[in-house]
């Protein structure tokens, strides 16, 4: 092996990497927060919502879970303009991630809701709370607590999957690595650095989500 590793380009191109990290983090934050919110709404609709809404949400969930993320992204960015819906690459990337996590999150959160003992719903009802109030104040937090590890993993998966948005020229970390290797021809080094950064981001995100879990759920769920 006579390949000479050269990381000298880092001195020139580090701002590109930093910008890429920033965009990847922004996509993850927006996708994570709005995606989980959408997931909660859909999980409520599918588990406890009115009868007419359930098949609508089920269709959305199955559509997203059974098609590739990249196709969803292309459809939003390249397909929708044909219908007059145009958006920038970042908006399209954000939207695709929210829709994607919303569907997977829906199924994970629904499992948490359906594991709720019936007595919790009855206790809420017997105190005069409406079904929605009982869901919001009584059922939701313990349900999220039950499935928090699974939901955290899904958020990390979505963060790593955001690499696909480089394909619509959203300037995330993967886009930065592609850009650098095309300028420097240092493919190994560029992707090695990108890999290391993704790894560090994923570990940091997991830890952050664990910490968030501790503050959201100060107590173990009974039973």
């Amino acid at each position: 092996m006579n390949y000479a590793f050269d990381y000298g380009w880092l001195f020139v191109y580090w701002p590109v990497l930093v910008k890429g990290i920033g965009i990847t983090l922004e996509l993850t934050l927006v996708g994570g927060v709005l995606g989980v919110a959408l997931g909660i709404a859909c999980a409520w609709a599918r588990a406890l919502g009115p009868g007419w809404l359930r098949p609508v949400v089920a269709t959305y969930v199955e559509l997203i879970r059974n098609t590739p993320f990249l196709i969803q992204l292309f459809f939003i960015f390249f397909g929708l303009p044909a219908l007059g819906v145009r958006m920038g690459e970042l908006e399209a990337a954000n939207l695709a991630m929210v829709i994607n996590l919303g569907a997977y999150g829906c199924e994970i959160i629904r499992a948490g809701i359906q594991a709720t003992p019936n007595g919790q719903f009855e206790a809420g009802a017997s105190l005069g709370m409406s079904r929605l109030q009982t869901f919001w104040h009584v059922v939701l937090i313990p349900a999220l607590q039950r499935i928090w590890p699974a939901l955290s993993s899904q958020i990390v998966i979505v963060m790593l999957g955001s690499a696909a948005v480089s394909q619509i020229a959203a300037e995330d970390l993967t886009f930065a690595a592609n850009f650098i290797q095309s300028r420097t021809f240092r493919a190994f080094e560029a992707y090695f650095v990108a890999t290391a950064i993704y790894l560090a981001l994923a570990i940091a995100l997991r830890q952050a989500l664990r910490g968030l879990g501790w503050t959201l759920f100060p107590k173990r769920t009974a039973r």
Binding site: G119, Q120, A123, S126, L127, G128, M129, K219
Partner: protein, 242 residues
């Protein structure tokens, strides 16, 4: 004037008729014990009174609030009757105090400070003022059940329904819960309780209802029901239960 009026109530689960025309009127301040074998419909009857089960025929009203299946009527009814469950059903993610505060704030829109003051008062009333900030899983079963009672009382109901509230407790914890119930009875709270505590029923209750196969089989003052049961079914039930 009756507080709780149960008239010709029938309830079916599929083909199985579990309540076959129940009539009971409860006067304010009465303490009613409902006894009977499992499957006799006693828990179902109790659950119908605050709308946890729908009824197929007949009518139920509590202090003028009719049992009707829409959310508005159900809420009005449930503000008048509190319910305590066998499994306590405390909200595990909230402290005891928060458990007692929640429905006041959510349902009655009581300001937080007021709800907290009421919660403290009710926790004192069940002898748990010092456990205000404890989570349910840090409390014994008896303590959890007393928090559940405080939680129901904080909504200031006119009547309380108790569904086998000591059945899930270790024997040594039963008396602390019954003591609280006895105190409530003494203060004039209207109570309907499904119970297997025959001694408690005899000592505290104003009337005893014996249910058998979905009907009120015998009803009367505890001394009559327990000392001179008229029907062979009740005689047999008491023979088994004693």
């Amino acid at each position: 004037m009756s507080l709780i009026e149960i008239t010709e109530v029938k309830k079916r689960f599929g083909d199985n008729e579990v309540l076959k025309g129940i009539n009971i009127d409860v006067a304010p301040g009465e303490v009613i014990a409902i006894i009977g074998r499992s499957g006799s419909g006693k828990s179902t009857l109790l659950r119908c009174i605050n709308g946890l089960e729908t009824i197929d025929e007949g009518s139920i009203s509590v202090a003028g609030a009719q049992l009707l299946p829409d959310e508005l009527h159900l809420k009005a009814l449930r503000l008048k009757v509190g319910m305590i469950f066998q499994q306590f059903n405390l909200f595990p993610h909230l402290t005891a105090g928060r458990n007692v505060m929640l429905s006041q704030m959510v349902v009655k829109k009581t300001p937080k400070a007021e709800a907290e003051a009421m919660a403290k008062k009710m926790m004192e009333r069940v002898g748990l003022g010092h456990k205000f900030d404890a989570y349910p899983d840090q409390l014994s079963g008896g303590q959890q059940q007393r928090v559940a009672i405080a939680r129901a009382l904080a909504m200031q109901p006119i009547a309380l329904l108790c569904d086998e509230i000591t059945s899930a407790l270790d024997p040594e914890l039963v008396s602390e819960v019954l003591a609280v119930v006895k105190e409530l009875a003494g203060e004039g709270m209207t109570l309907m309780m499904v119970t297997h505590e025959m001694r408690f029923a005899r000592d505290v209750c104003s009337r005893v209802v014996f249910m058998h196969q979905g009907r009120v089989h015998e009803i009367g003052k505890p001394e009559d029901v327990f000392s001179s049961p008229k029907t062979p079914e009740l005689q047999q039930f008491l023979g088994v239960a004693h």
